[in-house]
Amino acid sequence: MSTTLETVSDEEDSGLKVFDVSLVPDEPGDEAMYRHRPDMWHSARELMRRWDVMFTLAERDIRAQYKQAVLGVAWALLVPLVSLFMLVILAGHVQGFSPGGHVPFALWTYTGLLAWGLFGGAIGGGTNSLVSNKALMAKSHFPRECFPLSQVLESAFSSLIATIPLLILFAVYKFQYPPQLASLWSPLYLAVEIPFMLGLTFLVSSVIVTMRDLQQIVPIMMPLLMLITVLKPLAVEKHHHLTAAFITDPVLRVLYCVANPMAAVLSNFRDSVLLGFGPQWELLIAGAVGSVGYLVLGYVVFKRLEVNFADLS
């Protein structure tokens, strides 16, 4: 049977166009190729415009997470307490391990866990935020940053709840070691933590879309990093806890803080809240530099890989 394309198209003059596919070139010309050049300024504006999506997604995840759990939101209290219990048992076997000086180990550790929890929660949740939301990504083209950012918000929510056990711990020790006035420096430490947290979340969540190996690596690395950062204090002479000092060389210490800004944040946060010291500026500034570096790196990588998200996740 012969194709009768021509006769059919002649029958009615209605704008029907039948194409000869053999005329189409195999490859498009080089000038037509699409180059993804993310416009950061435009992206940031778009993100501001669709700010609410982030909150909606965070709300969805929080609601879904605690729905049908018998204890509900109480889990946000229990999870950090269980980690604390774990660390107390772990460190209890080490004779004379008292990195916090005269401050009780549980209090010292929990303060660190609180600061770490915000970071760890964001990374843990953010890792799979793009991969597990493929269905939503296929629906609409709102900024993709909303997915990891919603996990950061969720982590902030959990951390807020996790401050309650800290207050209880202070009470358990009958306020013999009360929070110090220097706690008021905390927003500054938070300001150093946030860019690091955002940067790493962007980085991990976007790379994992093409490299699923991270799905195995991140859950192993995070507890390891937590143990190092929470249990190993940065030794600073004036702060009296040289016994378990991690790095004593001042130059190495600063470099370490650039690589792991959380170490600087934790060290300062604990010393301020529990011991009443002001910021150790050289560590904090190193941490801030590293932190901003991570943010820039993470965001650039995220925007670069953005093209693949809907297809590969």
């Binding site: 029907l16 039948v18 070139p25 969805r60 609409s140 083209h141």
Partner: protein, 371 residues
């Protein structure tokens, strides 16, 4: 276990890159606001990819896509619904992701719930919904977003007939309000019912572009041709000759008699039925006729005279099958396959009102009177 990875790494280092395939090529498409545009083609021809690019969730490898206004997508309606949240929470979540503020969603909330017909179940978790309820909810949310551009991909295949009709009505209402519609479906009658213009994609190329009815009829013919090419296996009955002719062996005309002559050969004598059907190219006939008898082994000739052909002008296929009744020990049979195709001449099919599906055009001689 890691040999594959090591091999791949070695090839990659030597400059080997994964071969790629163009899913869409040479697409030139401009659709004016308020128009409806259908996209048809077999599975894997690139229809959904094209929609994703219009939706801007997938980026083209070459070229550019510009969509002006808010884009709403009805792609796999169920997939955006979160099973652990209640219907109400899902409406707000989905609406917000599609670009509506909370107050905009609130304003439409009752309409959405009414349309989805979920009633008291709004505050129940979606995982306890029936499949139909979840799909209705998904469709209702997207259908009431009033986007500037609405993308619809194969969603009407789900849901019962009444809901399908309701969805079609809603779609045409949205279009009347000025929304531009892109409609992807394998259900050709709905494409004809909904779309002004259509594009036929075949293996990543645009084969035809034009008024929906013309493109759909071209596509139907091609499906018929494909089917003729693929059925060749020998199952005990061989067709030798098939002829379809009009009155006195001439042209086939609407409302006139049609003669079918089939010469075939059977390996064994069989008692069974010979079915004939006329379709628009697809395997789904407009009507079926049947002749039951005992057929001798060897060559036989079967003639059939239809007194009046109830079809409008167009190109049709004659399909046929021959089967022994169930339970008999005759193994010879003829599977359902296209036997011949023919052009019928006569009046052109009347186009149904917008939004109404006509399954297959049938020519019915009518006399009207207005007094």
């Amino acid at each position: 276990m890691f040999q594959d990875q090591i091999l791949l790494l070695g090839r990659w280092l030597r400059g080997y890159r994964r071969p790629y395939r163009w899913v869409l090529r040479d697409i030139n498409l401009h659709v004016d606001p308020g128009k409806t545009y259908g996209i048809i083609g077999v599975n894997g021809s690139g229809k959904s990819t094209l929609l994703k690019m219009i939706c801007q969730t997938t980026f083209p490898s070459a070229g550019s896509v510009t969509a002006v206004g808010r884009v709403g997508a009805l792609l796999e309606v169920r997939s955006g619904i979160h099973p652990d949240l209640s219907g109400r929470q899902n409406v707000y979540l989905y609406g917000n992701i599609m670009g509506m503020s909370r107050s905009e969603v609130t304003a439409r909330f009752d309409d959405i719930i009414d349309f989805a017909e979920i009633g008291d179940a709004v505050d129940r978790q979606v995982k306890f919904y029936s499949t139909g309820m979840a799909i209705r909810l998904g469709f209702a949310i997207a259908a009431f977003l009033e986007p500037d551009i609405l993308l619809v991909d194969e969603v009407l295949a789900v849901g019962d007939a009444r809901f399908q009709q309701k969805c079609l009505e809603r779609i045409s209402q949205v279009v009347t309000n000025g929304t531009t519609l892109f409609y992807v479906s394998h259900d050709l009658p709905t494409v004809e019912a909904v779309c002004d213009r259509a594009m036929w994609l075949a293996d990543s190329y645009v084969r035809a572009d034009g008024p929906a009815r013309d493109v759909v009829s071209l596509y139907r013919q091609s499906v018929g041709e494909q089917a003729e090419l693929t059925t060749t296996q020998d199952t005990g009955v061989r067709l030798l000759k098939v002829e379809v002719t009009g009155p006195d062996g001439g042209q086939i005309l609407s409302g006139e008699e049609v003669n079918v002559r089939i010469v075939a050969e059977s390996e064994e004598p069989m008692f069974g039925a010979f079915h004939l059907g006329i379709s628009q190219g697809t395997a789904m006939p407009v009507f079926v006729i049947r002749y039951a008898s005992s057929f001798p082994s060897g060559q036989f000739e079967l003639r059939c005279r239809m007194q009046s052909l109830p079809l409008p002008k167009g190109r049709y296929s004659l399909w046929g099958a021959m089967r022994a009744p169930r339970g008999s020990d005759v193994t010879a049979s003829l599977p359902w396959q296209p036997l011949a195709s023919f052009d019928a001449y006569g009046p052109v099919a009347i186009k149904a009102p917008n939004g109404v599906m006509v399954l297959t055009p049938v020519h019915v001689p009518t006399e009207w009177e207005l007094t």
